[in-house]
Symmetry: C2
Subunit: 473 residues, 2 copies
């Protein structure tokens, strides 16, 4: 089907001319909304709706509902699974929330903030910092990713170990339901047991059950002090054992526990400007450990205790502690630089997987074997959040091989990883969601009862199937 | 309707004679399952089903589903809102999970445990302690309350400030759905973004969407060391300000922050064996502050810092720090003794309310005025979890008044509290749930769009309305 002109006219009347960009009148502007930032997912749309308020969103959703036209909510468009890109049919409208940028309320005493969906994650962090508080969710794309998108995908990042996922930081939501009704669930309450926790349905639903227009989130005490170490370890088992030591000695302050493979660090050292290896020798794996709190000296002492205890257990091959902010930034570059430099190794095949933490060493060993069997020499540019059991198990072609070799074996390589993940009780999407890219995989690897239960929920809340069809379920 | 004999016969055949207790054959045993522990909610049932396994539960639910007979899941029966008591019709069967007591798995490295629904909360705590880990949820009835019940009501308690509610500690669930299918959602993953987070629907649903038969929960690093203070403050505003100071100086270690009114402490001092006032003078409000971690000295230093900083800001009327375990127990008695001694002030009218933390002083001031207007001299036996914005705002009759006066004015007194709570953006049930007791109140004070959305979910998952009917929605 095509989108009727009279619907676009009604939307333009309701939202104003700034509220509707048509592909016919503004092809270049619309083009940026039908492809994700990596260029991996591309679709088409006759128009991008740009509501400026919750009332606008409600009107747009209601008009589309009446006309039977599907909507694809979109924020910063930094997702990795195609969740906010329309399909190629030209029958879906993009609903871009980027104009809804109001910070409605910041409460430092109660520890909450209410912001609209189009506020960037960095904008929210800044609003918290402005009143001496912390909004702890942090990820590479935070300058572009929006609160709405971060909620829709239940984003994670580097602070999950201490602070949880976006779900855990959410106190309340305002949602436009598929028929255009507004659910005002904005609450700044730590506890509320008055029935089903509906906000949990919309967080992580990738816009398939309704459109999140605003949220009340938790703010935490600021942690201006940091203590950061870069630790070389012999293997992933040592990294997991080091995690246990760190939790024992610094539980309340432990904020970051990230692992990076030598292959990944090597790429950063070769290609990221300013990157340098703090150690004289190469090691198979590295861990970035960071404590955060209010007093630098206390944290330094605790971090020292962690490293001494870990060394006594033979877990540390080498270690360096950041002596100040510049050294800290240099250590973080070795971890955060990975995603930017991976292009230097050619196209990449990404896997965002998780297993129970104790199973991480088994996962790495088993997938090393399985991947090597599928494509000898395939490079594992592996890094991730060991404290959460989450690895970004990304692959690049063997050194010197043509790009096509990775594409040709992509399905078999991914299957080698997902099969092991499933065998170990893990998940094929730890923090990136399903979008369109992994929806069918979820049917393959997921539990049939669970997938059907999700469809039951989808049918109940969106019986006409107009909210981001083709995603998640 | 009545429960058909042929259904009871089929259930007895399937579950064995130990699996079905009929009121006809075992009236005394059945009687204990149709009234809650306080005697506030009473119903009737022709039989109590006692499944010993998930397969038993699935069979029982399927047979009842086919026969169109309603089920009321029940655990330790310690709930406060009548959620696990059948109605008076005699047409509902009780499904008691107390025989499902297996600890299926405990993983100290990964930090998780999988237990069946009938394991008591203390049993789970003990299983964690047995491997040197902590399961942090703690509440007065933990020796009797079961994991299934704690999940069904999303219980809170005294550790929520640091560790969250039961929802936040749950990694995975096994649920028997209303038609008897088993959803195996038992996972020990910190992250899993493969679609809707279905477990969130069942946690807090009070058995209205299915029967939780087992759960995988988070275990945390043990915190053998404690530092505990009892602080007298002038008013609730000082308590809230003290919370901010404590979060600033001891964020990662702060575990408990509880407030108790003088009226409540006075009752404990008068009636709890061994209770004594550590201060020479009476004060209007008290705060119990506790830090937990691994090193006693570090915690002691931090607690001292909190008290010095609070004193400098004029927030402390008096304070005492526990010098050892015995003194700690004595201070906790002043807080935990309240619910046990309240009977000495006559019948009580309980309110479990929450507002944004910053609004707590306004709530107490406004309800003081409103309650006094309804019933002069009514006693506020108030205590609660200030760190969560949650007060147990319980009322007793004026000194010397007949018991009936409280009952006669109950609706007006409760309305005085709930009206203010609602005006301040709060909730009429912070941690006790709705059950049958507060279901209609939720329709009065709740948002109509939200209540209808809950009913939509209920109809989708339980179209025949056989799972704990009359509760929550």
């Amino acid at each position: 089907m095509t989108v009727p002109d009279r619907l676009l006219d009604a939307l333009t009347t309701a939202l104003g001319s700034a509220g509707v960009l048509t592909a016919a009148a503004s092809p270049d502007d619309v083009a940026g909304h039908v492809v994700d930032w990596r260029g991996a997912h591309r679709g088409s749309t006759p128009a991008v709706l740009r509501p400026g308020s919750t009332a606008d969103v409600a009107t747009a959703v209601r008009l589309c509902h009446e006309a039977g036209v599907a909507l694809v909510p979109q924020g910063g468009n930094t997702g990795l699974c195609g969740g906010c890109v329309p399909d190629g049919s030209g029958s879906q409208l993009v609903l871009w929330l980027g104009r809804m940028r109001a910070v409605r309320d910041v409460d430092p005493v109660g520890g909450s903030a209410t912001v609209e969906a189009g506020v960037t994650l960095r904008g929210l962090q800044d609003a918290a910092a402005g009143v001496g508080r912390l909004f702890p969710l942090s990820l590479g794309s935070e300058g572009t990713a929006t609160v709405g998108g971060v909620l829709a995908t239940n984003a994670g990042g580097t602070g999950v170990l201490r602070y949880g996922m976006m779900r855990d930081l959410t106190l309340g939501l305002e949602v436009v339901l598929p028929d255009g009704q507004v659910w005002d669930g904005l609450r700044a309450l730590r506890k509320d047991n008055t029935g089903y926790d509906l906000k949990q349905l919309f967080v992580g639903a990738e816009g398939t059950l309704g459109v999140i227009t605003a949220a009340t989130v938790r703010l935490l005490p600021a942690t201006p002090a940091r203590a950061t170490a870069w630790v070389a370890v012999h293997d992933v088992a040592a990294a997991v054992a080091l995690l246990a030591v760190a939790q024992e000695h610094a539980a309340g302050d432990l904020t970051t526990f990230e692992v990076v493979s030598r292959e990944a660090v090597g790429l950063v050292l070769d290609h990221a400007p300013g990157a340098r290896d703090p150690f004289s020798a190469a090691h198979p794996w590295y861990v970035l450990v960071e404590l955060a709190g209010s007093v630098t000296e206390t944290l330094g002492t605790r971090l020292e205790e962690v490293l001494v205890a870990a060394d006594e257990r033979g877990l540390v091959a080498d270690a360096v502690v950041a002596g100040g902010p510049a050294q800290r930034t240099a250590l973080w570059l070795l971890r955060e630089g990975v995603s930017e430099v991976q292009g230097h190794a050619g196209p990449s095949l990404k896997h965002d997987v998780t297993v129970p933490i104790a199973a991480l060493p088994a996962l790495v060993a088993a997938t090393d074997r399985a991947l090597e069997a599928v494509l000898p020499g395939v490079r594992r540019i592996t890094y991730g959040h060991v404290g959460d059991g989450n690895l970004h198990h990304n692959l690049s072609k063997p050194v010197g091989a043509p790009d096509a070799v990775l594409r040709d074996r992509a399905d078999a390589l991914s299957a080698a990883i997902y099969d092991e993940v499933t065998r170990l009780g893990g998940s094929i999407s730890a923090e990136h969601g399903l979008g369109s890219a992994k929806r069918d995989l979820a049917d393959v690897y997921g539990d049939p009862v669970e997938r059907e239960l999700m469809r039951t929920v989808k049918r109940a809340l969106d019986p006409r199937g107009l909210m981001n069809p083709g995603k998640v379920v």
